[in-house]
């Protein structure tokens, strides 16, 4: 039975708690973008993806997701743990020494669910295309999903990949852009404006969709609608409007929480706004 919208919303609340608690306990990390994308990740891992948490690197015979903007690792780690890739307790090791949960996602420590390192921006779309090409060669009709940031679109490699995907008609891939309008130094428009983002992707030959990334109903419906565009000769991109920090009132409306962890008082405040639905993992964890 696919999860209902209200069930997904309940999971997303727990995912947001996990994000706040991971970054607080690590005293570092990127809560803002993670919170904004919690609904998208929850919909993806608990409803949309046809995936196997026992984890095979090659992703043969299953859908696969790539996170290009690796700094929002807390949201990815939360959904990976909550959907069975590894124990939820391990979230307490985020950014600690000897952990598999590196600050930015990596394969080096063999964390199930991660297939390539990301963090240095602009690279994930190319990697996702490589897997999509392989799936075509193997006649595997499972899909490739990728998420990029919006500030990340300032990287040239993204547009190399965008051009390639249109030329090769990589139409078994759904890319989503987290369009929260913020990056480390401020608003995109103040740093380097993205201009007419829709027109850019259209001119590169992509099928462009829009979605409200903080409305679970819209996220689920849009991702389902995107699937209906598969196999039509064009790569698909969803411009996903999100609010950085969504779900925690004092973290929204500013870029300040891009890469700053909440202190104890702020954590208490944030958690009071997010219902515990699946049970918090314990921390301090195992001798820490």
């Amino acid at each position: 039975m696919p999860k209902s919208i209200s069930e997904l919303e309940a999971i997303a609340s727990q995912v947001r708690r996990d994000i706040v608690r991971q970054t607080h306990f690590a005293a570092s990390g990127h809560p803002g973008g993670s919170l904004g994308c919690a609904d998208f990740f929850t919909a993806l891992y608990f409803r949309v993806l046809r995936h196997d948490p026992s984890f095979n690197m090659s992703a043969k015979g299953e859908d696969v997701f790539f996170l290009s903007n690796g700094h929002i690792s807390p949201v990815w780690y939360s959904v990976l743990a909550r959907s069975g890739y590894f124990n939820v307790e391990e979230l307490a090791t985020f950014r600690k020494i000897d952990s598999r949960l590196q600050g930015h996602p990596a394969t080096h420590e063999n964390l199930p669910g991660v297939r390539v390192a990301s963090g240095s921006l602009g690279q994930g779309l190319s990697v996702a295309i490589g897997v999509a090409l392989s799936k075509k060669l193997e006649n595997d009709d499972h899909l490739v999903y990728a998420l990029t940031g919006d500030g990340e679109l300032q990287e040239g490699q993204i547009w190399e990949a965008a051009m390639f995907a249109a030329h090769y008609k990589v139409d078994n891939m759904i890319v989503t852009v987290d369009w929260n309008g913020q990056q480390i130094d401020g608003a995109n428009d103040d740093v380097i404006t993205l201009g007419d983002l829709e027109a850019k992707w259209v001119s590169f030959g992509w099928d462009v969709m829009h979605m409200d990334g903080n409305n679970m109903q819209d996220v689920v419906e849009s991702l389902e609608a995107a699937k209906n565009k598969i196999g039509k000769g064009k790569p698909i991109v969803i411009l996903m409007k999100t609010e950085m920090g969504y779900g925690v009132d004092f973290m929204t409306g500013t870029h300040k929480w891009h890469g700053v962890a909440p202190n104890e008082e702020q954590t208490k405040d944030a958690l009071s706004q997010l219902e515990e639905t699946l049970g918090d993992y314990p921390y301090p964890f195992a001798g820490q």
Binding site: Q123, S126, V127, E160
Partner: protein, 319 residues
């Protein structure tokens, strides 16, 4: 083998060896795919493209994207061979290789042509002399620099059988062929070309032939050179190199690369830890190249057989 037995049987470019090796490897292994950044003819990948169009990806002038796509193809179980000039295979895409390939331990074969001064007339923008150093520094990267056409064919086939990232470096000009056509290429092992007792000459790539020529000149003057082809710079064959050093007690290293970071650095680092002996390095000394004919450039930048003879005499004085 004795020095006299090492003879050139003709000339062919090592990049031709790559193209022919790729065809050979692709016939044996259907997981091999090829990617090229608008230099298919220069890399001699046309035959592969024609024979396996569905396994070949022309990525255009977008090397960063090529490295990322290769990492993705490798993730899914393919064995991607990327092809472009050495400059665009390394310096231009160092971060892509570092994060998406080396750190992520992807089975990508980075195949790099037109390395070094022997690229010739195109000049210093294209003559990379730092690539071995950059690739050597990456944890888990293999660095392979075959010496002639036959060896490049064999190396191109051999790297498919090894799981992990490989940097395969070769070049543009026709160059003497002197190794066996039916050789087995052993990654991580030195190739002993001629045994000797006075000095060890370690060389890689095109410079192995110059080392052979220099050793022949030195032999006529009564100097017994051990000529060793270090075609794998990483992982370095420490045992093979130390065995030779313990016999000759001095060494000359020869490479078409900067002195910083290359073969000489690798051998010196080993010697300094395990068996300190005098070493002279024949390499480009902290400068960029320039336009010109390959042989003229090698002479101007101190990489001719005469320079090797001179360095050998220097190192013998220091024994």
């Amino acid at each position: 083998m004795t020095l006299d037995q090492i003879q050139s049987t003709g000339k062919k470019a090592t990049r031709d060896g790559f193209g022919d090796g790729l065809m050979k490897a692709a016939r044996e292994n259907s997981n091999i795919v090829g990617l090229c950044a608008d230099l298919t003819g220069s890399l001699k990948m046309n035959a592969f493209q024609d024979a396996y169009p569905e396994r070949f990806f022309q990525v255009g002038i977008a090397e960063a994207n090529m490295m990322g796509i290769a990492a993705g193809l490798a993730t899914a179980g393919k064995i991607p061979y990327t092809g472009t000039f050495a400059n665009f295979s390394t310096g231009r895409v160092y971060d892509q290789i570092r994060q998406s390939i080396a750190y992520s331990h992807k089975n990508v074969k980075i195949c790099a042509s037109h390395a070094g001064l022997t690229l010739g007339e195109d000049g210093a923008t294209h003559q990379i002399l730092e690539d071995i150093g950059m690739m050597r520094m990456l944890p888990g990267m293999h660095v392979v620099v075959p010496c002639d056409y036959n060896q490049t064919v064999a190396a191109t086939v051999a790297i498919a059988e090894l799981y992990g990232p490989v940097y395969l470096r070769f070049g543009r000009p026709g160059w003497p062929i002197f190794t066996a056509e039916d050789q087995k290429f052993e990654i991580g092992k030195i190739q002993m070309l001629a045994q000797g007792s006075d000095v060890s000459i370690f060389a890689c790539g095109h410079m192995v032939w110059h080392a052979v020529e220099a050793a022949k000149t030195l032999a006529s003057e009564g100097v017994s050179c051990e000529v060793i082809n270090v075609h794998t710079i990483k992982p370095l064959d420490e045992t093979g190199i130390l065995d030779s050093l313990s016999k000759t007690k001095c060494a000359v290293t020869v490479e078409e690369h900067q002195r910083n970071g290359g073969l000489g650095d690798a051998i010196a680092q080993l010697a300094v830890r395990k068996l300190p002996v005098p070493i002279e390095m024949v390499a480009v000394n902290d400068s960029f190249g320039e336009s010109g004919k390959p042989t003229d450039l090698l002479a101007k930048y101190g990489l001719s057989p005469t320079d090797i003879v001179k360095a050998t005499k220097e190192v013998l004085k220091r024994k």
